[in-house]
Structures are given as C-alpha cells and as structure tokens.
Amino acid sequence: MNAYPASDITRERGKDSPAVIIDNVAKHFAEVQALRGFSAEIRYGRLTGLVGPDGAGKTTLMRIMTGLLVPNGGSVTLAGLDVVRDNAAIHVASGYMPQRFGLYEDLSVVENMRLYARLRGMHADQHSEIFESLLEFTRLGPFTQRLAGKLSGGMKQKLGLACALMAKPEVLLLDEPSVGVDPVSRQDLWRMVQELTDEGMAVVWSTAYLDEAERCESVLLLNEGKLEFDGPPQELTDRIKQRSFRLTGVSDARRAVLSRALNLRTVGDGVIQGDAVRVVLRADAGHAEIDALAAEVGAQLEPVQPRFEDAFIDLLGGGPGGTSALAERMDPVKLDSDIAVSCKDLTKRFGVFTATDSVSFEVRKGEVFGLLGPNGAGKSTTFKMLCGLLKPTSGKAHVVGLDLRHATGAAKSQLGYMAQKFSLYGLLSVRQNLEFSAGVYGLEGAAKRERIDEMIETFDLTRYLATSPDSLPLGYKQRLALACSLMHGPPVLFLDEPTSGVDPITRREFWTHINGLARKGVTVMVTTHFMDEAEYCDRVALMYRAKLIALDTPDALKRDSRSDEHPDPTMEDAFIHLVESADLEDETRASTKVAA
C-alpha cells in the first residue's frame, strides 16, 4: 500500500538528520520542576519513544516541541525552526495529536478531517485525493459519516492520527496514543507509524507503558523531569542481559520465592511471571545467592531476554525489597468457605445496552484474580457489581458467602475497595483520611486508634500525617489508599486499576504488598491495563464485549496462543489472540445465520 504521506522529507533531509534539537530545556510550573534541563536529538525517519511514568515530564516536552508551552530555559528547534521565535511556522511543520486525540465528538469522521485540513491550509481541490489515501491508510473508509463520539477508542486514535497528518507534517508528535486503546488497535497503529517513518517522517510516541519502548528505534527515557537514557532501547536492555533470569518449577511457592529472592542483597528486582519468578541481579553481583535459593526451593534457573522495564528499574537503582511490612503484621485470614467471591449468570443492562452478559466464575480464598479487557468490555461494571456498588439486572453475586443483593451491608464490611486514582480526600490531611476510613468501617475508640497507629507505622506515614494526600509522592499516596481500604482487615480486597499512571518502582512495591496479603489468605480481585501485571495473578478472566471469553492461569492463556509467529507469546499476544478468535467466532456465527 502506498501510504499517504509520501512526502519529500527524505529527499530534502537525509534519514537520521536531526528533526528536533532539544538544548538544555527546562520548564517549571510554579513550584513544580517539570523538566530539569537536558539535551537530546530526535531524528528523521525514526520512531522515537518518549517514555516515562506519569509526571515524568513527557507531555510538557511534547507541548514545548509543538509550540504550546514556552520553556523557561534552553531552547528547542523543530525542523530548523525555533519553537518560540518561529511559533507560527512550527504549527505547520509539526503534526500533533494530543491526549484523547483532540477530536470533535459531535462531528463526523469526514467533518473532523475537513476541519483540520482547512485549518492546516490545504486547498479544497486537494481534499478528495488526500482524504482517500488517509482513509485507506487508517482503514476508516467505511465510517466516514459516523460521529467521532461513536467511534471505538482504536478508531478515534486512527482518526486523530489522520487529522494530525493533514498537510504532511515533517515531525509527528503523538501524546500517549495508546491510552484507552485495545491491543489489537495498538498493533494497527504501530504498523501505520512504521510506514510513516519509512518515508522519512520523524515520529515521537510518548507513553507510560514501558514495554512499548522496546518497539521504538530510539528512546528518550524521562523520570521526574530528568533524561535518564537516550538511545536505542536495546542498548539499555543489554545492560541487564547477563543478569536476567527466570526461576521455573516453583508454581505454588512462587510468591514466597519472589519474596525471598527480593530480600537477597544481590537481587535488584523481581516479578512474578505466570508460574515462574523473574529476577534481575544487581550489576557486578555474583550468581551465588540466587543459585543457592534455586537449589533450596528446587527451581531451575534459566537466563531470559531482558526487558525494558526491568532495565529502567535497574537504571534507577533497583526495586523495593520483598517483605511487605503490612502483610507481616496481619493475622492469617480465616474463612469458613473456600470460595471467597462467586458470581453466577451475572448480567447488567443499561437500557438496551448490555454491559455485562451472564458472567459466571468462582474465586478461591487467597487467590489473586485478575479481570482484564479492553475499555468498554464491561470489566468495571462487573467489578462494581461484585463489590456491591451496582445492582445486577439478573444473576447472583456472593462475597464470602453473603448475597450482595440482600446482604449488601454485611458483604461490604467483608471487603476492602480501592478505587481508581486512589480517591483520597485532598482537603483532609493524611491522618484525617485514615480516621475517616476507620470511621466509615465502624472502628471506634481504642481499636480505632490502635489500627490507625499500626497503619501509620506499617506504611511509614509519620512524616506526612499533617499534609494533604494531593502533595504526597505517588508511592505514598498509593500506600495511604491501600491503608484506607485495609483499615477493617477485610478478607477480600477489590482493586480497580490500582497501578495506572504509577511508576514501575511504586508498582513493584505495590505488588510486594499484594503478594504478602495473598500469602496471608486475603483474596484479591484486581483490574489492570498493564498486561505484564496480569502475570502476577493466579488466574485471569478476560472480558470482551460484555462476555467472559477466557478464564485460566496466565501461563495456560499464553500457551493456548502459541503459534509459529509467536513461539513465546507475551500476555499481550495472548490477549490479541483471544480477542481476535472471539471476533472470528462472531463473524462465522453471523455468516451461518445469514446462510441459514
């Protein structure tokens, strides 16, 4: 296919010549240092990843490059133009897709395209030709008359891309293009961007998903406004190449093994990967300790391919230790039944729209159970029904044997709930937040004081007691939210997207707590965007179009999707495979229906 932007960039500017020159750029907002002064270059004909956790300064840098923010120090040159002095020309040379794609939801696909074409000074007589190639490129052809608000996340993203590509920019800036987009559509976007860079365009892709960095030719890794790494991602992952291992054959004991491994002096980082434990040794550390551990627990130690996220953590000096102070203090959970959470034919309809369609599963005591699915698949709705926030239209849901429909109050006292984005009260101090959640869960007097003091000590919150949760570092905010949801020592914990927007080290710490809690018998229900986090779960339920399309252990799901193309599939590959086969099934069913 001849992609649309067959521009003249390559002819005029050699591949790999600098498209954006960042020179000691600094930016602060009031007290907050967003960018702390660094230099880098972004080149033509390459996909450059601007990678880092939330709050690293990615969007600020993007906005400076596209002339929407003025740096406080240093300078940025894009396509030979200074972003401040030649501001007007910058808007011509660059195509920018902001977060949430910048589309008008009440305009149709073609109306959005026409608007941006005119704003970018394209003549009407060129429209039809360019629109045609853009529509073919994005495969939006059949949907030109549909309102942008009615498109799926993936289609919106493609339309946003088409709009940013109007009038052939030399530099394409995409701010978090993969947020809210399912893995299948994400694949499409990678393909499109590949074609654009092949033709000489410089493409910048900002992302908080560190695994996306591995797909970029070059990476700028930001953390807290500093440039931590600049170069091809392999260069960073190569640093831990000889130090990445997998411990297999530890299936049942994997949480304990991870905890012990992380407490070793020579181990810098580790995660659970399905039935195995993955560890990264510290630089210049010997194998001795990990070998001894492997031998002791009867595990096989095998070297594995390094991952970008692990390399990032290594770069920052390794992750947290393996002991959860929280879980240590907890008494093991005693439950009469072995089933902690169960639902049968759970259905929720909003008008004619079915959000959850007869979903059934059972979660065992002490299990970490993941609920995954693309946006709008119904996982949040299912989740909310299970913790008593939504009433099911039909079907049954039980928590520790209590029917959520009749004994909602009693069931709720048996579960802890941590909402998305932590939902702490910004106008209350840390102590007041703790007191409030202790109060709503009915703790009183001495028991309340004791429990709060225990949480403060466990999570090391003493020095922040008087401050607002809003001004806490992210990691502490997460600790506080977890402390609030665990105040009443619930046997079942519901976590809704607990780690979105959180940096990898904080995520590691979080999972250390979750692993610890699971070992004490707490049942954990979790939804997540991060595919690699699904690996921490004992079992994963995959939802798609309101239905449960798969439910198994992470390893089994990966095994089922093994193919010649993906001999060693990741969780994301498995996800794509399952969604595609569900689509295929729908199609065959539809066509047989037509045939009949």
């Binding site: 003249d8 923010l69 007007a88 589309l103 008008y104 704003l119 970018r120 000074g121």
Partner: protein, 391 residues
C-alpha cells in the same frame, strides 16, 4: 508575524505555503465546525430557542406586577338598601373578585387558608353610621398582612370603592371644577407585561451570549480539542471569531424569535423600527459575548464557567438592569453598580423601542456604553487567550 519565517521555510515541504496572516478559509472552517456542533447539540437548541419561549411565557403570564382580580370577601351584615348598593359597588369593580358572605366567620377562615386576600365588613348599623352627622368609619377592612403589597392594595382600593360610592350618592354635591384623570404614557394600560417582555429579551440574550459562549469555549478546553486547534496554524483571532460568530447569529435569531413572540402572541406593540431593535441587539451582544469569552478564558472549566456566568451575567441582568426592579428605587451604591451592567442599557433601550419608538437620543448613549463595556471585555479576553497553553 515573523519576517524570516517564510525565508527559512523556502523550498521546503509544501506545507510551507500556509500563511500565518488572518485567513478567511480557516475562519470559515471554524465557523462551520462550530455551527455543526451547535445544531447537533440539543442543549444549544434548548437554551437558544426553548428557554426563551418559556421565559417569555413566564414573564408574560405567570409573573405579573399588576394587581387584578384580587379575591376578597364582602360580609354584608346589614340588609339596608344602601348597604346592598355598596356591596354591589365592590362586586362591580374589575380589580376585585368578590365572595359575598353573611357571616364574617365564613370568610375569615378563607383568609387564613389563603383563598382570600382580605375581606370587607359592611356592619349591621351601616345605615345609622351613614346617617350620622359625625364622620364615622363606614366599613371594616381586614387584609392578609403576609403579603404586604396586596394587603395595601386591598386596603386602599376598598377605601376608594367606598369613597366613590359615597360620592355617587351625594347627587346634590356640585361637580368638581377640575377633574383629575390620570393618563399613563407608553403603557396606557399599565400592564406590566408590556414592560417585562422587552426586558425578558435582554435576559434571553444574556443567557445565549454569556452563558452559552462561556460553556462552549470551556468545553473545548475540557475535551482537549482546544489543544489540538492551537497546534494548527489557526491564529487566536481566527479561533475566537470562529467561536463567536455562530453564537452571534444564534443570538440574533433568538432575538427575532422572541420579538415575534412578543408582538404577535403577547400583543406588545413595537412602536420603534425593526432596524433599531436589531441594531440594539447586535451591539448588546458585544459585551454579552465578550463576557462569556472572558469567563471561559479564565476558568477553562464548564462547571465553573456556568457558575460565574450565572453570578456575573444572568443575575445582574435580572436584578440590576431595571428589568424587574426600578433602578431609581435602589440605594445609591447599588445604582452606581448598575452602570457597569450592559443589560441596564439594553433593557431601557428595549423598553423604549417597543413602547415609545425610535428615540435615538436614548439609544445612542446606550449603544456607546454597551460597545465600550464590550470592547473592554474583548481586550482582556484577547490578552488572556494566548496561542499556547501557558496560563
């Protein structure tokens, strides 16, 4: 804008041809987009066309500053012919609606329950009082003091009825040499509807101009589309005009619709010319739109924008424009504040153009004041809106 920009970009990608000066095609594209959005958004239509109709109906029928057909009771305790004739005089006036009674207890209860606003007692010894050489109160008037205005009206009016009835009886009395007959100019019927409906048009325009504009600009910030638009070559002037022009037209259409409703449905006369009405409305939209733009430029948040628009736009035009409450009756400091409210000039102009005619001596200073306030808003709004996301 920048002289060397074009040089730098000479011979580069075809995108370089886009001019950075004011570009009509870009403006048209923005106007078209905004119009499509306005037409497709049911809330816009609701605010621009349904709400004005509701408001006008409210001010035309539900809100009335006139007192008419006040329900009172007349307790006739005397059977004398003179007493009967006085009762008939009460029943005969169109300002009162009389419930006749024989016993005051009957009506007293109805006053308590709010069915009547008061009652008049024509006492048993009415005949004797009438004949008495010493002036004696003829009737007793009892009113519902919980509604002081109406109570006053009932008391005064009952007095008036008795007096004119008494005057009519004294046939022997010579006719007064000079008879006073009040005549009200501009609103000969003294119907408040005639003054309220033109004023309501000012309220409608404030809502469309200030509230709607503040909301739609803030919406662009909230949804992130403003960021996308700012990253295109479109200039601030193009973006702002592209935003305002459709709402200007919408405001004018709503004015025409409201005026038509006022004239043809509510029988408010349009004594001035349509041209004057449209000129006034167009000029009033300058401060109204400017204020909306300023609010949204500062808040960038729909909720806040609507609250500020309510307090700084809608309520002042409602309370301080002379629409409901006479400005002359306000305390001096409040009167001074009203000069800052564009609706004040608009309301008085509208009342003039509807009820009096084209009095340009009234219009011109009002137009000048509205335009001045409008320009002031625009200058600040333009300063607050930059071609970037710096705040």
């Amino acid at each position: 804008m920048n002289g060397n920009v074009e040089q730098v970009r000479e011979g580069m990608a075809p995108a370089g041809r886009a001019s950075h000066k004011f570009d009509w095609r870009r403006l048209l594209a923005l106007v078209r987009k905004e119009s499509l959005q306005a037409i497709r958004d049911p809330s816009t239509i609701l605010i621009a066309f349904v709400m004005p109709v509701v408001l006008l109906f409210l001010f035309a029928y539900a809100v009335s500053l006139d007192v008419r057909e006040v329900r009172i009771g007349v307790v006739l305790e005397s059977d004398a012919a003179s007493a009967q004739s006085l009762a008939a005089a009460f029943a005969g006036t169109r300002y009162l609606k009389v419930t006749p009674a024989r016993d005051r207890r009957e009506v007293a209860e109805q006053v308590v329950s709010g069915k009547l606003r008061g009652f008049v007692v024509i006492p048993q010894d009415f005949e004797r009082r009438l004949a008495s050489p010493v002036a004696q109160p003829l009737v007793q008037v009892i009113t519902d003091g919980s509604q002081p205005n109406t109570a006053n009206f009932v008391a005064n009016y009952a007095q008036g009825v008795v007096q004119s009835w008494a005057a009519g009886r004294r046939v022997s009395a010579p006719p007064a040499a000079i008879q006073l007959e009040p005549r009200y100019w501009f609103n000969a019927e003294l119907e408040s509807r005639r003054a309220l409906v033109p004023g309501a048009i000012a309220i409608v325009m404030t809502i469309i101009g200030t509230m709607l504009t503040a909301l739609v600009v803030a919406r662009e910030w909230e949804r992130g589309t403003m960021e996308a638009i700012l990253s295109t070559p479109a200039s601030v002037a193009e973006i702002l005009i592209g935003k305002l022009l459709p709402y200007f037209i919408l405001g004018m259409l709503a004015t025409l619709a409201s005026a038509a409703l006022a004239i043809f449905v509510f029988d408010v006369p349009l004594r001035g010319s349509l041209l004057a009405l449209l000129t006034l409305s167009a000029v009033f939209l300058i401060p109204a739109l400017g204020q909306g733009l300023l609010i949204s430029a500062v808040t960038k948040n729909q909720f806040l924008a609507s609250q500020i628009a309510l307090f700084s736009g809608f309520l002042p035009s409602f309370l301080l424009s002379g629409f409901l409450f006479e400005i002359d009756a306000m305390p001096a400091p409040i009167q001074a504040i009203t000069y800052l409210i564009p609706a004040r000039y608009f309301v008085s102009s509208l009342q003039t153009v509807f009820l009096a005619g084209d009095v340009w001596a009234v219009f011109l200073p009002n137009l000048a004041a509205m335009a001045a306030i409008g320009v002031f808003f625009f200058v600040i709004a333009k300063r607050k809106t930059r071609k970037n996301l710096e705040s």
